[in-house]
C-alpha cells in the first residue's frame, strides 16, 4: 500500500498541521512509513499553501507525491493551483463554501468544514474537521489512531474542541460518502 495525499488551502488555515496529524497518525499511532512535506509562499498568512503526505507499508524513497491519490482542498486558489497532477481516480474532498468553483466534470466529496467549525464556535478547527472527513472518506487509517494524533498535536486546553471537530468531520465524511453513492 502506498498513498499520496495533498492538503491545500491558504496560509494560516492549518494545512501543515493537518498533514502533520495524518502523518503522525500513520507512523506513530499506526505502524506505517510516512513522510510529510510542505511548500508555501513567503507570506505567513494568505497565499496558497500545501502539505503533502505519503503513507506506505514500505520504506519511502522519493519523498514528494508523484501523483496524488487523495486531494483535500480548503481554498479556491489552492484548488486551482495544485490540481494539475490529479488522476481520474484521485479522491477529491473540498469544502464547497471555500472552493465555490469545484465543478470539474466529475463527482467529488463535499464537506462543509468551515461551517461545522463555526458551529463548534471556532473556525480555527476547520482543518481538524477536514482531517476527520479524510479519515472516514479514505478509510486508510484507524479513526482511533487519527484521534490520538489530533490529541497529541493540539494545545491541551483545546483538546475537547478538536476532538469534537474531528468527530463531526468524521461523520460529515461518512455522509459525503453516502451522498456520492
Amino acid at each position: 500500500m502506498k498513498k499520496e495525499i495533498r492538503i491545500c488551502g491558504f496560509g494560516g488555515q492549518g494545512v501543515i498541521l493537518a498533514g502533520f496529524i495524518i502523518g503522525k497518525a500513520a507512523s506513530v499511532f499506526e505502524n506505517y512509513h510516512a513522510v510529510q512535506s510542505q511548500s508555501y509562499g513567503p507570506e505567513a498568512r494568505g497565499g496558497a499553501a500545501r502539505s503533502e503526505i505519503i503513507i506506505s507499508d514500505k520504506k519511502i524513497g522519493y519523498p514528494r507525491p508523484l501523483s496524488v491519490d487523495i486531494l483535500l482542498a480548503m481554498s479556491q486558489e489552492s484548488f486551482d493551483s495544485y490540481r494539475d497532477d490529479i488522476r481520474d481516480d484521485t479522491v477529491i474532498v473540498v469544502d464547497p463554501d471555500l472552493v465555490k468553483k469545484h465543478e470539474i466534470g466529475r463527482p467529488l466529496y463535499k464537506v462543509q468544514a468551515l461551517k461545522i467549525a463555526e458551529e463548534l464556535g471556532n473556525k480555527i478547527v476547520t482543518n481538524i474537521v477536514m482531517v476527520g472527513a479524510f479519515t472516514s472518506i479514505s478509510g486508510l487509517l484507524k479513526p482511533e489512531a487519527v484521534k490520538e494524533s489530533v490529541i497529541d498535536s493540539v494545545p491541551k486546553r483545546f483538546t475537547e474542541l478538536n476532538i469534537k471537530a474531528f468527530e463531526r468531520g468524521f461523520e460529515a465524511g461518512k455522509n459525503a460518502l453516502k451522498d456520492l453513492r
Binding site: 502533520f20 510529510q36 519511502i60
Partner: protein, 394 residues
C-alpha cells in the same frame, strides 16, 4: 555553573520515544542527546527550526542558547564554549555557512571539537531560501583557507538527522576537529518518524581531557596519555593548564611560530593525519544491490531517496544496477569507491548541484570506470524518472 548532562532530564524534555518530527528538529534532538550544552545561532531559512528547537529546550536541560548577531559570531561563540568545556553546536544554511568559513578553519587549526549543521539551500548568494540543495559539499571540504581535513555527514532521513548529529559530536570529540552535518532543505523540512534511542544504546564519545601533571603537559602534540594517537588531550579552560590557543601557526607548546617552516609542517601534518590515518575507520556507507551490479549509483543525503526509487525501477526492468550511499561524505570512502569502480562499468552520481562530490568520486575511481554526474538544481530533488534515465543513456 558548569553544565552536567542529565539523561533523565533530557528525555523528559524530548518527550515520547517515537515521534513524527522535522529533520531540523531531529538535529536538535541529536545535539541534546549527545550532551550539547551550548548553541549559538543566527536565524536563516531553512535552518531556523534548529535554533528555535534549541531555544525552547536548552534552558530546560540546563544548557545555554544565545542568538548571536551573525553567523560569524555564532561559530565563534561555539568554539569559545568548546574551550570552556561545553559540547557546542550551531546550525545554518549556505549564506551563513559562507560567513562561518574563517572560524571553521580556526576550529580546525586550534583542534576545537564542535558541530555545524548546514541545512543547505540553493545558491550562489541568497538563491532559493526555502528550497533544498547540496551546493555546499565542496565548501565543506575546501571552504576555509589552508590545509585541513573535513568530517561531514549527509543524512537521508529524519532519523539520520538525529543519529548523525550524535555521531558528528562523537567524531568531533574524538578527533578534536569540527564536524559537519550536511543536510539540506528537503530533509530538514521533511517530517518522518524517529525513534529516540534508549540511554543504554547511546554510544557517546567525550574528548579526552588533560589529566597529567600540569608542568609536563604539552598542549599541541600527540596525546601524552594514549599511544600512537595524534589527537592531543584537551586542556579545558579553567582546569589550571593555562593554555594559550592561537590560530597562528604554533609549536607544540601553543606558542606562535609564524616564521618557522618545520613547525608549520609538523602542526598541519599532525592535524590532518589524525583524520587521514583513520580514514578506513571513518567509512560509513550503505550498499544496495551491489553484488552483481554493472552500473552503480553513488549518492548521499536527500539525493539518495529518488535514486533508490530509480534503482528499484532499474532492477524491475532487468538492469543490473546498485547503489552506494555515503553516510559520511568527508572523508570520501576512497577505497570503497575504487573497489566499486573496478567492478562496474559506470558510476552515476546524482546530486543537487551541477557536480561536486562527483569529482572526488571520479578521483577515487581513478579511471577504472566512467563516472558521470546526474545533476539537479533549482530547489527540487530529482524525480526518480530523471535519475532513471541515466541508466538507459548510452
Amino acid at each position: 555553573m558548569k553544565y552536567k548532562r542529565d539523561p533523565k532530564r533530557i528525555r523528559q524534555v524530548l518527550g515520547k520515544k517515537v515521534q513524527f518530527i522535522l529533520g531540523d528538529m531531529a538535529c536538535v534532538y541529536g545535539g541534546l542527546l549527545a550532551g550539547c550544552s551550548f548553541f549559538g545561532g543566527y536565524p536563516i531559512t531553512p535552518a531556523s527550526e534548529v535554533a528555535e528547537g534549541m531555544a525552547r529546550r536548552l534552558p530546560r536541560v540546563g544548557g545555554t542558547y544565545i542568538q548571536m548577531e551573525d553567523e560569524i559570531g555564532s561559530i565563534a561563540a561555539v568554539i569559545g564554549a568548546a574551550w570552556g568545556g561545553a559540547k557546542s553546536m550551531t546550525a545554518t544554511s549556505g549564506p551563513g555557512f559562507s560567513l562561518m568559513m574563517e572560524n571553521y578553519g580556526f576550529a580546525a587549526m586550534t583542534e576545537t571539537p564542535c558541530v555545524i549543521v548546514n541545512v543547505q539551500r540553493t545558491g550562489p548568494s541568497t538563491g532559493q531560501p526555502t528550497l533544498g540543495a547540496q551546493g555546499d559539499m565542496m565548501q565543506a571540504r575546501w571552504g576555509t583557507h589552508g590545509d585541513f581535513e573535513a568530517i561531514a555527514f549527509a543524512p537521508s532521513t529524519v532519523q539520520e538527522c538525529m543519529d548523525f548529529t550524535i555521531e558528528a559530536f562523537n567524531l568531533s570529540e574524538k578527533y578534536r576537529n569540527p564536524a559537519l552535518v550536511m543536510t539540506d532543505g528537503e530533509v530538514g523540512h521533511l517530517r518522518e518518524r524517529i525513534i529516540i534511542p534508549e540511554e543504554k544504546d547511546l554510544k557517546l564519545i567525550d574528548r579526552v581531557e588533560a589529566t597529567i601533571d600540569k608542568k609536563k603537559f604539552i598542549p599541541f602534540t600527540n596525546s601524552q596519555t594514549r599511544k600512537n594517537c595524534k589527537v592531543p588531550d584537551f586542556p579545558t579552560f579553567g582546569t589550571g593548564y593555562r593554555t594559550y590557543v592561537t590560530g597562528l601557526t604554533h609549536n607544540e607548546k601553543g606558542f606562535p611560530a609564524t616564521d618557522k617552516q618545520p613547525d608549520h609542517e609538523r602542526l598541519v601534518k599532525r592535524i590532518t593525519e589524525k583524520i587521514i590515518d583513520d580514514a578506513d575507520k571513518l567509512v560509513s556507507v550503505e550498499k544496495f544491490n551491489l553484488d552483481d551490479a554493472e552500473i552503480a549509483f553513488v549518492t548521499y543525503g536527500a539525493s539518495a531517496r529518488p535514486t533508490e526509487s530509480a534503482m528499484e525501477m532499474g532492477r524491475k526492468n532487468g538492469i543490473k544496477v546498485g547503489m552506494l550511499r555515503l553516510k559520511i561524505v568527508w572523508p570520501v570512502p576512497e577505497k570503497e569507491v575504487h573497489k566499486l569502480a573496478k567492478q562496474v562499468d559506470k558510476i552515476i552520481v546524482p546530486e543537487m548541484n551541477l557536480g561536486q562530490m562527483v569529482h572526488p568520486i571520479r578521483e577515487a575511481a581513478n579511471g577504472n570506470c566512467e563516472v558521470i554526474c546526474a545533476p539537479k538544481i533549482g530547489g527540487e530533488i530529482h524525480y526518480p524518472d530523471e535519475v532513471y534515465k541515466y541508466l538507459e543513456a548510452k
